[in-house]
Structures are given as structure tokens and as C-alpha cells.
Symmetry: C2
């Protein structure tokens, strides 16, 4: 099996590149499953493909390459493809892909000796994204951050859902491309890292030699540019902190993962198809809003004008991250959302989801353990010595089959019976309040108790199965609490609430 290996490369304008010797030295880079390679080429791509044998290679290119051709001699152009009359954005993307494909075919492949690498080059995916700027072939206007949204969108569908090793080659990126591609990968892989083993390696070749024209001509012949690591590390889980205002249930789910609320996780787990449809819809709208027309510019040069009339919003970007998170989680979690869950099920979720986050995992496990003791009963050291405090099962199996923790505890406490005082610990109870159970639902307690707030956490005893199921009473309120946990600061919480 092993990890799936993906190579992503940002490409500016390949028609400006010149051949030089590139070299990968695996030991020096500390890379395993890697082959030392030295190859003269216009691009680092075949070198990295031969050295790393990625399962998948992706080029991120820009729409500003539409119709590009650069004069080389009196009547020769590169690429050797005519400019087209482009009339919509699909044509623009297709045109750029063709030009980049031409470059690979005519400029990269001829310098490659291995047939295997040639075959792999045919399989490289070329993704054409939103650029920006004035060129003699194209004029592109829109939000610079659209490239970030584009990269997130395309990679969220292509990055592995399981263990992964991802390489980002920044050598040929220009302008805003490297930082935005880096940021997109950093964010997506940080989600995968919740449950997968993921490593991220950022590569850059040594700089192209520069100097006087005579010197440079010689230097390029003699130089070998080594591939270097700009970053290389196992990826840690990177929680999402953004909300999706239009989709409170999705926001509540995000909070359940970020904060460790296992029962909210079970309750709000989104259906991936709904998220996929939402982002695909939004992305189509974005593409549809892009105006494309051919026209002469002020200098009388006919070119393609590409104008983005909308942009890929922050909410869209959060939805994409959620989509990728679900692609990842769906590898391990089945059958969600559900209305209720047993403690054992929630233990399993916690252990899996927070295996790399001991602080949040240990706190949540401890909470579940307290609930387990409450469910089954436990030995307690009271004023008059140890006694067995009965559990929820003892009680629920004799008549009442379900209820909110708060109600059960109230009922019991009014009888001065002891077994359920633990119910108060479970959630919150100021000793100083004189023993009355505070009916106000308090966000701080909700957070501190991993989502098991006294008033809204319910239990049901299934007599046939002999099992206790936990569920929430008030879904709307739960949603608000989850969202509050993500957007409210601790100091504000304490100002607002007296718990």
C-alpha cells in the first residue's frame, strides 16, 4: 500500500524557460523511495517525476497564457499554435491546456530519455486557473485570491483521502502563485492529517544563473541546479476556525471537530454529496460569470479579454475545506449523521479523530469516562464511608426509559437520593448555588464538558439491547452552542455568562 504520492507544480510562463541541468540528490534531501536523477531539461517536472515516481502529477497554470505565442525567429513562434477566437472561458482553459501540452510534447519530452517518464508526462494533469494582468495575448481582471479558491477547489478533489506524501514544486511559479498554492496545500493537508499520516515537502531549485550575457551563456552550460527543500515535515492536524453563515449545521459540525464535541459530530455530520453539490454549484456560477471577448487593445493588438465579474468568496473556501475533510473522514466513518450514539461509539470517534491531539482527546475521553461511570454506577466515598452509587442503567431499566440529564438529576435530587449527583458533575453545578440546578444553558460549560451540557444532553435506555443511547434534545440550541464555541472568545464568554 504505502502512501499516495502527489506532485503539484506551479507554472508561470513556460515559454520563457531555457534548458539547464537539474539534479535531485535523495540523501541530501532526506527523501526515501527516491532515485537520484540528473537531467538537462526546460523544466523540473520530468526530473521530479523520474526521481519521485508520483502516483499523480498536477500542474497549476494560469489563464493569462491564453493564446500566448512568442516570436522566436522571423516566422517561427512558440508554441507553434495559432491564436484562436476564444469566446468563452471553457475555450480559454482548453487553449491554455493545449499550449502547455505543446510545451511538454515539444520542449520537455525531447530532452527525456526514459520512456516511462514520457508516459508519465502524458498523464500529467494541467489545471488552468484564474490569473491577472495585462499581456499582449490576454488581459485578465478579477480578484487575485481567486487563484487560491481555484487551487483549493481543484486539489480538494484530487488529493488523497488516505495517507499521503505531497510535493509542491515552486521553481517555476511566479508572482502570487507560490504563496497561494502553498497556503492551499497547507490548509487541505492539515485536515487530512487529523486521521492520516501526511507529509509535505516544498521544493525549489537553486536559482537560474544570472550575470552578463556572455557569462550567463557559459554558466548555464556548466551549472547543475540542485532541487532543494524549502520545507519538509510531517503535517499536523490544522483545525478549521471559519464558519459558513448560510449553513449553520455545517458550521456546527466544523466546531464539533475543532473543539472535540463527539455527540455533535454524530448529530451534524454532513452528507458529502450535499457539500459537493454546493461547491460545484458555486464554482459553476463563478465560471459562468467570467466574460470572455476578443478585441484590439490600445496598441492595436488583438487579444482575449477575460473579466471575472464575481469572486470565490471566503465561505466558498470554507465549504471546500469542509468537503475535503469529509472526503477524508468518509474513509473511516460510516453511517452518519445519526440521532443518537452510545458512549462506546463516541470513545471510538474521539480516539480516531484526536489521536494526534492528546490535549483535546484526553479531556474528551475523560468526560466520556465520567459518563460511563454515571451510566453504570460506581463506588463512591461518602461521608459515611464507601457505597455503591447506582447508575443510569439501574434507574432507567426500572420504568423511565429516557430523559434529559437535568430532569433525571432534578427528580432524584428532590428525593434526596444520591445516585445522580454525578449528573451534576457531568455538566456544571456551582456548589455555591445551594444545590439548585441552574436551568440556564451556559456556553462555557458546554465547551468545558465536550458538548455534554446538562440541560440539552438526553439519554434513552433500550431495554431490548440493554444499551444507553445519548442524544440532544434541542437541535437548534445545540447548533447555536457549537457555533458559539467557535466564534466566542473566552473573555467575552466570562463577561456574558455567570456560570
Amino acid at each position: 500500500m504505502g502512501r499516495e504520492r502527489v506532485l503539484v507544480a506551479t507554472w508561470g510562463n513556460p515559454f520563457q524557460w531555457r534548458p539547464i541541468r537539474y539534479r535531485v540528490e535523495c540523501d541530501r534531501l532526506g527523501l526515501e523511495n527516491c532515485r537520484d536523477v540528473e537531467m538537462k531539461n526546460m523544466s523540473t517536472l520530468p526530473v521530479l517525476i523520474e526521481a519521485l515516481k508520483p502516483d499523480r502529477a498536477i500542474i497549476l497554470a494560469l489563464d493569462t497564457l491564453a493564446n500566448i505565442r512568442i516570436r522566436r525567429g522571423d516566422s517561427t513562434y512558440e508554441p507553434d499554435l495559432e491564436a484562436k477566437e476564444l469566446s468563452d472561458y471553457a475555450e480559454v482553459r482548453k487553449d491554455v491546456e493545449e499550449r502547455v501540452r505543446w510545451f511538454i510534447e515539444e520542449r520537455v519530452k525531447p530532452l527525456v530519455k526514459s520512456e516511462e517518464v514520457e508516459r508519465e508526462l502524458d498523464r500529467v494533469e494541467i489545471l488552468v486557473g484564474p490569473g491577472l494582468g495585462e499581456f499582449d495575448n490576454a488581459s485578465v481582471s478579477g480578484d487575485m485570491l481567486d487563484f487560491y479558491g481555484f487551487t483549493l477547489f481543484e486539489l480538494s478533489q484530487r488529493l488523497p483521502g488516505g495517507d499521503a506524501e505531497v510535493f509542491l514544486d515552486l521553481t517555476h511559479g511566479i508572482n502570487f502563485m507560490p504563496v497561494l498554492a502553498y497556503r492551499a496545500l497547507k490548509n487541505l493537508l492539515g485536515l487530512s492529517a487529523y486521521i492520516n499520516e501526511v507529509s509535505f515537502h516544498v521544493l525549489n531549485s537553486e536559482p537560474y544563473p544570472q550575470g552578463s550575457p556572455e557569462w550567463a551563456r557559459e554558466a548555464v552550460k556548466k551549472s547543475v541546479l540542485h532541487m532543494r527543500l524549502v520545507e519538509s515535515s510531517p503535517v499536523r492536524p490544522k483545525p478549521l476556525y471559519s464558519l459558513i453563515p448560510e449553513k449553520p449545521e455545517w458550521s456546527a459540525f466544523i466546531s464539533s471537530v475543532t473543539n472535540g464535541f463527539p455527540l455533535a459530530f454524530v448529530t451534524f455530520y454532513p452528507k458529502i454529496d450535499e457539500v459537493r453539490n454546493e461547491i460545484k454549484g458555486r464554482y459553476s456560477e463563478f465560471l459562468d460569470s467570467i466574460e470572455v471577448k476578443m478585441s484590439e487593445d490600445e496598441m492595436g493588438v488583438r487579444k482575449v479579454y477575460i473579466r471575472r465579474n464575481s469572486n470565490l468568496s471566503e465561505d466558498f473556501r470554507t465549504e471546500i475545506k469542509l468537503f475535503y475533510l469529509l472526503r477524508v473522514l468518509n474513509q473511516k466513518f460510516r453511517g452518519y449523521p445519526k440521532r443518537e450514539a452510545t458512549l462506546d461509539e463516541m470513545f471510538e470517534i474521539t480516539r480516531l479523530l484526536f489521536r494526534k491531539m492528546p490535549r483535546i482527546g484526553a479531556v474528551t475521553c475523560r468526560q466520556l469516562e465520567e459518563m460511563k461511570a454515571f451510566e453504570r454506577g460506581e463506588t463512591v466515598y461518602g461521608e459515611h464511608g464507601p457505597y455503591h452509587r447506582k447508575g443510569l442503567i439501574d434507574r432507567l431499566s426500572r420504568g423511565k426509559y429516557w430523559g434529559a440529564l437535568g430532569e433525571i438529576a432534578r427528580e432524584v435530587s428532590s428525593k434526596k437520593g444520591a445516585p445522580y449527583s454525578r449528573a451534576q458533575d457531568l455538566v456544571r453545578m456551582k456548589a455555591s448555588s445551594g444545590g439548585g440546578i441552574n436551568k440556564n444553558v451556559c456556553l462555557r460549560n458546554f465547551i468545558a464538558h465536550s458538548g455534554f451540557e446538562f440541560n440539552i444532553t438526553h439519554v434513552r435506555y433500550d431495554k431490548t439491547e440493554g444499551k444507553v443511547y445519548w442524544f440532544y434534545g434541542d437541535r437548534e440550541l445545540l447548533m447555536k452552542l457549537c457555533i458559539g464555541a467557535l466564534e466566542t472568545r473566552l473573555d467575552r464568554l466570562e463577561e456574558l455568562e455567570k456560570c
Copy 2:
């Protein structure tokens, strides 16, 4: 007051730049305290200085510019400074600074109309860092990541310790510079954001127009390149997850911040001077290891050879982050480290340090509240109705003035008295274990209880002050637990320990 504003710009080779109109439109960028500016210049620097009026502006440049001069005409060069016989790295840095300063003086300033901006340009700091590559003026070899260490080191001393607004201009950065400067700022500002309001804006101008020479000549005259945002957001706290193997106490402190262990925070708070001396020492060693010599290359061109024989290690980078974290924390925290602390003091630390992290803050506050109840006593609902469970103070004020929580609880529980059964809750106690107190210190409990593990947490009652002080018994063990909390995964914890 307001936030301190810092502008950082990555500069590749300025002698390749040409004048063009740059424009800042504040509304479009969503920036406040900003002035719309349009200015023809070789660089975005004066434009941004005029628009943003930063309190501090910093250029990150590369040592590969040493001795650079580019032929412009038959006998004119840019900069108009002779190449020098450079013999050590201090001279290299000084030379590059002079050349960049020449560029600002002779190429940037003449296009500036405002005297205020001119004055600000004189104040710009030029930091010369480790580059890489073969050029006709210089040949530089070493680790590409040294630029990252350099940026962290220099910025850790210059970024504000309080509220801040930081702008990173990537327009003129080349190769590995933008991503590494971005990464350095992202990490440092994420530490400041624990207790400060920090915003981070990454800027990039629209791309320089490109096309056939005739077209480009005209286009450059007509174009206005707008400054755009590549990222713009309030910065969230970004915990440190790396350790410093040679300095276990510093690692333990890092863990106390990352995981929310207030008493370990008090105990291990490092002295900033020690950290400063350590990183300054390491940095000097690094600089001293850089060999500089003048020699002819294969093409017979005399140039400076710069060879880094050591690199800025990962531990060094962690120490720099720790140093900056302390610079920030020292704005609010005084008098640490200390051997012991009251609960009130720990409440304050928790509220301040985790004000933007409600999950960790609420859990830690709840823990402290339980300890408060344990300290003072509380009303409890036992089998035979409510009663006042005595607190630590009741007990400690009558004879025994200090002890480990574990001992106190054991002593009491052997007498079948109830007041201290809460001590067990404080830390960990499996009801199923039959009431015996497990003497094994368990990392998972240490984590789940915000560092207040039963066996190692001690209390002392100060009769004169009438206050309870909390402290740790076994400093070595505490250190191991803190470090374990940062490096051990939850699944491994559960495998290793049966708590």
C-alpha cells in the same frame, strides 16, 4: 496608541526593475488608516510607505547581491559602486546594504515627490540574509532554509511585542524568498496573537506587463499596477509543537502554553535573557562559520565565494520562536518563574493566555474552579442529603500545612472521612479500582487535568496570609510529563498506560 504597523518587503535583484505606475486603493483593499496613492516608481516601497505610513519598514535582501553591478552603457554601471575585495561576511552584508541603499537613493527617491516619504526611506532597515546560487558577482552555497532561520531571527527582534498590523509585500521577492518570509511571519505573528490583536496582510502588485518588446514598451507607459491582497486576516494564536531537546525546561514551558498547564507555566517560565543569549550565540556561530573569499571562476570572472559551513537548525528556529513568545508575554507577565502560585493567579494566567482559545481556556478554568471548591469546601449532595464538605483550608489550617494532594486524600480516605474524596476527582480515580488511589503518575490524567496530577501537585497553606499555594513536588517528573504531552499521541498514550 493603536497598533504598531510594520511593513516587510522581500527584495530580489532591484537592478533588474523598471519604473511603472503602482497604485494603492484603500477601499478596494479594505484597509483602514490608509491613503490612496498612485506613483511611478521602480519599487512598490515608497508607494506603500506613503499609503500605509508604517512605523517601521524592513527590506529582506540577499547576500547574492554582493558586489553586484550591471552594465548599462559602455562605461556606466548600476549601482555606480566598484566591486570590493570582500574578506568576511560582515563586509558582504555591509556591501549589499550599500548597494541596496544606493538603489533607494539613486533610483527610488528621485521618483518620490513627498519629503516625508523620502525621510522614511532613509529609515528603512535593510537586512541582508543568506541566499544561494551562481552569479557573475557571487557564488553562494549553503542550506536554502537558512533564509527562513535568518528571517525568523531578525524579525523576532523587530516585530512589535504588543498589538500589531503587519504587511508583507511579496512583489519583488524571487525564488524561495516569498514563501519563507510568509512562513516566518505567519509563525511569529501566531505567537503574538495569543495575547495581542494582530492582523496580517500579504500584498502583491499585479504582474508586470509582458509581451513583444514594442508592445511592452507602450504597455508599461500606460499600465497602472494595483497592489492586491493575497491574504488579509486577523491572526489566530498558533501553538508551538516543537521541542528543544537540549533544553527540557524550555520544552516544558512550550508545552504549558500549547496545552494549557498554568502551574507548569508558572514553574518553567524562562528568563528571556537566557534565551536571547542562546540564540545570539548560535547565530554568531553560524555567521562565523561562513567562509568568504575572492577568486576567479571557471569563466575567469573574479567574484566573491560565500560558503556556509553550518546551518540554522530546527532547534535554533524553535528557540527563536520561544524568544519572540517571551518578548510578547513579558509585556503582561512579570515575576516568573515562581515556585508556587495561588488559584487566583492561575485563573488570571488562563484568562489572559487563552482568551482566544475557549476550548482550552474553558477546560482549564473549570479545572481551577474544581480546585477552588476543593480548597474552600462546598455543598455536596450525598446519600443522606446535602452537607458541607470541608475544604483544604479547613484541614490545613488545623495542623498540617502542606502535602501532595495524593497523600492528603489517602490519609483522609483511610479514615473514611469524606471531605477529600474530591481530591480524587481532581485528578483521576477509577471508581472500579475499588477506591484505592493509584500511585502511578499517568500522562493522560496529567493532560486531562490541565497539569494538576494528583501525585505531583502539592499544596501549602500560609497561615499568615491565610492563602493556599500550589506547587509541584517532582520537577524532573513534571518536565517529562509536559514534554510527553507535546510529543505523545493519544493512541500511543492509551496503549502505554492503563489509567
